[in-house]
């Protein structure tokens, strides 16, 4: 049976796991009256007896009972928010309870039994948006903050949420609007006044300045992408060169099976971790070698594919690695990996002794432009801190002088890249003497694009985007 949704939902808003205190949030019209039966108010500043009688923005100390048998679940603090001045814009109640899993589960079970369903992903923010409490851009940023799973990502999301991006866009938009005004003055009025307003020169200057600014923002996406989509770090090398051991050491837990039998890792193994504040996906690729084993050779194909999307590739050299193997595989890596990725050679098993081919392999690697070498021991942990540092260094090397702002949303990045391409066309049109009308038309197209981020452009596709993003309705 499909029941009509009453718009009431709840969720534990504090992190999963046991804690001292947990907060359960409830949103929906008249939610306070719905939970009245479960709450017995013990102490408050007023003389009310029910949650639904509480003035907004006050709290009380209460028993939270199971309404079916009246048994006490927990002693809680209840706060009530009135519509529309709440986060979601609907009436809201927050229950601060003790943070054990059992208490949280029991309270939620009571709420479910009262027809207050469990909130969908991002539903509080979605409802806030639907109730006009925040714009799409703000909602997007809030979603980013909520889902931020690394400290750097959180920092970036906070800058955007605080208007960091909008501020920069506004600057850009206002210079472009000024420029368009100059064009319009020239086009619509100059004939009568026949004076030179210098529109062409003004356009050239403005467009060049704005392009520098936009490119400055899009450049930050090199880091931003690594934050929002996580930096991909691949470990590769001949079978049994110690990739899995190293990965486990870096990731901090046993993610892949480590054995001494060559070729154990036949698939690409992933581990997600945070290293020096940066979210990373560590991949342990199948050891590359010519093989007749079908399962293994599929693994090798996957490894090659993995190079193609890696930001940083560690090539592990063990004492068994021949110079030819190293040369072939470094060649392979450089050929497959994206141009702004980095490769680092790790001479593993340093605890056994110096690698016999080290000098020759260094020489070969330099031939492919690989300049970074670290001697480590995955099994003893020697120098593995340097590997972590290499990850952080690569992230830092992608930094730009963009200041605090780091673009983390692919949507923002793509829109700004398109806007930048448009403005380049406008500059070209200016050089080709295509006419100020053309320059203004292209600039307007660029402004329509930036408006999709700053919220100045309304797009018909928006509703769909929102429905996709927040999974609203059916």
């Amino acid at each position: 049976m499909i029941s009509q949704d009453n718009g009431m939902f709840c969720a534990v808003s504090t992190p999963a796991g046991t804690s001292g205190i947990a907060v359960i949030r409830i949103s929906g019209q008249n939610v306070s009256a719905v939970i009245d039966g479960a709450v017995r108010i013990i102490r408050s500043s007023g003389d009310y007896k029910r949650v639904s009688e509480m003035p907004g923005y006050t709290c009380c100390f209460a028993d939270f009972n199971n309404p079916s048998d009246g048994s006490l679940i927990d002693k809680v603090v209840i706060t009530r928010f009135e519509a529309p001045f709440s986060y979601t814009g609907d009436e809201m109640v927050e229950i601060s309870c003790h943070g054990s899993a059992a208490v949280k589960k029991k309270i939620l079970d009571v709420l479910y039994s009262l027809n207050i369903r469990s909130a969908g992903p991002g539903e509080f923010t979605k409802t806030a948006f639907m109730n006009g409490k925040m714009s799409l851009t703000s909602a997007e940023a809030v979603m980013d903050i909520i889902s931020a799973d690394s400290s750097e990502m959180l920092r970036a999301a906070n800058v955007i949420s605080a208007g960091g991006l909008n501020e920069k866009l506004e600057e850009i938009e206002s210079s472009l609007y000024d420029m368009m005004a100059r064009i319009e003055m020239d086009v619509d009025f100059d004939d009568d006044e026949s004076e030179e307003y210098g529109a062409s020169r003004c356009c050239r200057e403005t467009l060049s300045e704005v392009l520098v600014k936009i490119d400055g923002i899009t450049d930050t996406y090199r880091q931003g992408r690594m934050l929002s989509e996580k930096m991909r770090v691949a470990f590769t090398g001949i079978p049994n060169s110690g990739k899995s051991t190293l990965l486990n050491r870096i990731a901090g837990y046993d993610r892949s099976i480590v054995t001494d039998i060559s070729g154990t890792t036949t698939d690409t193994i992933e581990a997600v971790s945070e290293i020096e504040g940066i979210p990373v996906i560590l991949t342990d690729t199948a050891g590359i070698r010519q093989t007749s084993n079908i399962i293994e050779s599929m693994g090798v194909d996957r490894a090659r594919k993995e190079y193609g999307r890696s930001d940083l590739i560690f090539y592990l050299v063990s004492p068994d690695t021949t110079v030819e193997q190293a040369r072939d595989q470094i060649h392979d890596i450089r050929a497959m990996a994206p141009s702004d990725s980095e490769a680092v050679i790790l001479f593993n098993k340093a605890d056994i002794g110096p690698n016999p081919h080290e000098e020759q392999i260094r020489l070969a690697a330099r031939g492919y432009g690989v300049e970074k070498f670290i001697n480590i021991s995955a099994s003893t942990g020697e120098n593995t801190a340097e590997v972590r540092k290499a990850i952080k260094d690569h992230y830092d090397s992608m930094g730009s002088s963009g200041g605090e702002l780091i673009l983390t949303s692919r949507r923002h990045y793509e829109i700004l890249s398109r806007a930048s391409a448009r403005l380049r066309e406008a500059l070209k049109a200016l050089e080709d003497n295509a006419g100020l009308d053309v320059v203004s038309s292209i600039t307007r197209a660029a402004l329509d694009l930036t408006g999709e981020i700053s919220g100045k452009t309304v797009s018909a596709d928006l509703a769909r985007t929102i429905f996709d993003k927040f999974c609203i309705g059916k």
Partner: protein, 642 residues
């Protein structure tokens, strides 16, 4: 007033029964009446004075930046202004030639009295149209007061009509102002319209008041033209009418020049010393004036850093010495006007034939209209021109033809015709007026059009002639001519794209002249035309196979090729725009039930009741965030309905 009440009035009598009654025979009224009669409706056109039909009470010219495009569009739809203007032109120029084809704008100086004569005669000849000199004082309605039923004259004559189009210009309750002298009068000393605006107000239509103005006219015999800068017409300028263009219409050989002078420090001094006598600054004028066509004292006050302004001295016809001082409009007293004119070089001894004046008039709030220009308050009532808050002959005529067409569609019970912002300046103009409204006389400018690379004067026919044909204003013969033009342009473009030429000395010479690089291998003629500085004409020596084509076709081919890439971008923008325009808002939407709309937006949306989200997004006071909420609401509505 109810028709039934009017019939019981003293002296009242039924004078006629029409499909459509058009009140006012200015540029809007003439187009509206012409369109209705052409569509086979029994039409009557009223004017306060027959000798002022299609009067040009201000500047003696038609067209100009953005306005020229409108005239071309009217013609493309099957209107009349372009044809009459072509016939009465005494000088023609294409403005903005250096600024790109999107803003090329034709403008022609008119023989003012001839324009009136020709237009009057054309309309007199039109079957189905009666023209009547009468003073209309009342709009008549059915008993519900919400459906137009006809009009009544001051003498009690009742004209019943299925639809009424009011184009009252600047005549309703107007008064002219020169300094301290205020006279209840229409423009050019003509009688004003009394009572009509009260009659509209009684029906619940909000009435506003605007102001505009006109400069002095002088006798050329008293003017020294030798110290002025001469400005000649152009012979290679296309006529306004596409019909004329295709039929090889030639502009007159003996075009009459215009002249220009600059104001002097003395002009500025005279104005400064008399500012206290300006009704604008003393508070006598309460109507709001046009920012884009300011009086000269306004220009000095507002552009304080500019110490001089350009004034054009324009002839008013072939058979008159009267000259018009464009850019010198003023509402200062007559004695100051004389000093001001005499401060201009060459005009020291000028004899003034008509004084400058400001004029105040009643108009309606255009946001009470639908995009068809039909009133949302009284159905069957249409308004066009200055009554809707616009300024300019061309803006008036552009609305006139749309109001006329839709009045006819209403009577014929056919689908209404709406020209949208991506189809023409007329669409931009009407959408701005009915969606945003205006708080000053609205002048069209190219910057108001989002898609102006596409809304060019040279392609107005490809944008609107199919629409005109569909409506029935463009006959089959003319449509066939149009289709032939489009198909030969298409063929020629294909030919240019498929004709490749190798490097020759002749080609090199052409390229050198344009400062263009030599191609590495064979190139298509089309790709050469795309290069800056290379024209279709210039390539003639290396293109011996080219067919003989009309000038209009060549221009179309050249512009289309040169701007192909940019036009593609424009079309993408139009597609995005159309998406939003096609998200329809349920007609019975209760905005108070849309949660999340800000109160201001809710009120504005409820007042204007836009048909789609595109229009909603252009209402001032409705933010993009409000539209997001609306879009989501409609989408939810749609999904839950399925």
């Amino acid at each position: 007033m109810r028709l039934t009440e009017a019939e019981n009035r003293k002296h009242a009598y039924i004078a006629g029964e029409y499909d459509v009654a058009v009140v006012g025979a200015g540029h809007a009224g003439c187009e509206a009446a012409h369109a209705c009669a052409k569509l086979g409706l029994k039409t009557v056109l009223f004017t306060l004075h027959l000798d002022s039909l299609a009067n040009l009470p201000c500047n003696p010219s038609i067209g100009g930046t953005a306005k020229g495009q409108i005239v071309r569009e009217i013609d493309a739809l099957g209107g009349i202004m372009g044809k009459v203007a072509d016939e009465c032109a005494i000088q023609m120029r294409m403005l903005n030639r250096s600024k790109g084809p999107a803003v090329f704008s034709p403008r022609a100086q008119m023989d003012r009295s001839r324009y009136h004569v020709v237009m009057k005669h054309v309309l007199e000849d039109l079957p189905g149209l009666d023209i009547r000199q009468a003073h209309i004082t009342d709009l008549l309605t059915d008993d519900s007061l919400s459906q137009a039923a006809g009009v009544m004259t001051e003498s009690g004559a009742i004209y019943k009509a299925g639809a009424v189009v009011i184009c009252s210009g600047t005549y309703m309750q107007s008064r002219t102002i020169r300094g301290e002298v205020i006279i209840e009068s229409g423009p050019d000393g003509l009688p004003r319209s009394e009572g009509l605006s009260d009659s509209l107000k009684e029906l619940g239509i909000p009435i506003l008041r605007f102001k505009t103005g006109t400069p002095v006219r002088v006798n050329s015999r008293s003017v020294d033209l030798s110290v002025m800068t001469r400005q000649d017409g152009e012979t290679d300028c296309p006529p306004f009418s596409f019909d004329n263009e295709m039929n090889g219409f030639g502009l007159p050989e003996d075009q009459i020049p215009c002249w220009s002078v600059w104001t002097t420090p003395e002009t500025r001094e005279v104005i400064k010393n008399n500012m206290d006598r300006s009704p604008l600054y003393s508070g006598v004028i309460k109507g709001i004036g046009p920012r884009y066509c300011p009086s000269i004292e306004d220009k000095f006050a507002r552009f304080a850093d500019k110490d001089r302004h350009q004034i054009f001295v324009e002839p008013m016809g072939r058979d008159t010495n009267e000259m018009y001082l464009q850019g010198f409009s003023t509402s200062l007293p007559e004695d100051v006007q004389i000093q001001m004119v005499h401060s201009l070089p060459g005009l020291e001894k000028a004899v003034i034939q008509r004084s400058a004046y400001a004029i105040e008039y009643d108009l309606i709030d255009s946001t009470t209209l639908r995009p068809t220009l039909e009133s949302r308050i009284v159905s069957g009532l249409f308004t066009a021109g200055q009554i809707n808050g616009s300024s300019g002959y061309e803006e008036a005529a552009g609305q006139g033809i749309v109001a006329g067409i839709n009045a006819a569609m209403k009577v014929l019970m056919r689908e209404p015709v709406i020209i949208n912002r991506s189809q023409g300046y007329i669409g931009v103009l009407i959408d701005d007026l009915v969606t945003k409204g205006t708080n000053e006389p609205y002048r069209m400018m190219t910057s108001r059009a989002e898609y102006r690379l596409f809304l060019r004067q040279d392609n107005a026919d490809s944008r609107l002639t199919p629409v005109g044909h569909e409506i029935g204003l463009i006959d089959d013969e003319r449509f066939a001519l149009f289709e032939k033009k489009i198909s030969s342009a298409g063929k020629e473009k294909e030919r240019l794209k498929n004709t490749h030429i190798g490097p020759t000395d002749t080609l090199q010479e052409i390229l050198d002249k344009a400062g263009s690089e030599s191609p590495k291998s064979g190139v298509s003629l089309a790709s050469l035309i795309k290069r800056p500085g290379i024209t279709y004409e210039a390539l003639a020596p290396v293109d011996p196979e080219r067919p003989a084509l009309d000038e209009a076709v060549i221009r179309l081919v050249e512009t289309d090729l040169k701007y192909e890439g940019y036009l593609k971008l424009e079309l993408e923008k139009i597609e995005k725009f159309s998406k939003l325009e096609s998200v329809m808002i349920p007609a019975d939407i209760d905005y108070s039930a849309v949660r999340g709309l800000r109160i201001e937006a809710m009120q504005k949306l409820d007042r204007i009741r836009p048909e789609n989200v595109g229009r909603a997004s252009r209402i001032s006071g409705v933010s993009p965030a409000d539209c997001e909420v609306l879009l989501v609401y409609i989408e939810q509505h749609r999904r839950s309905g399925k």
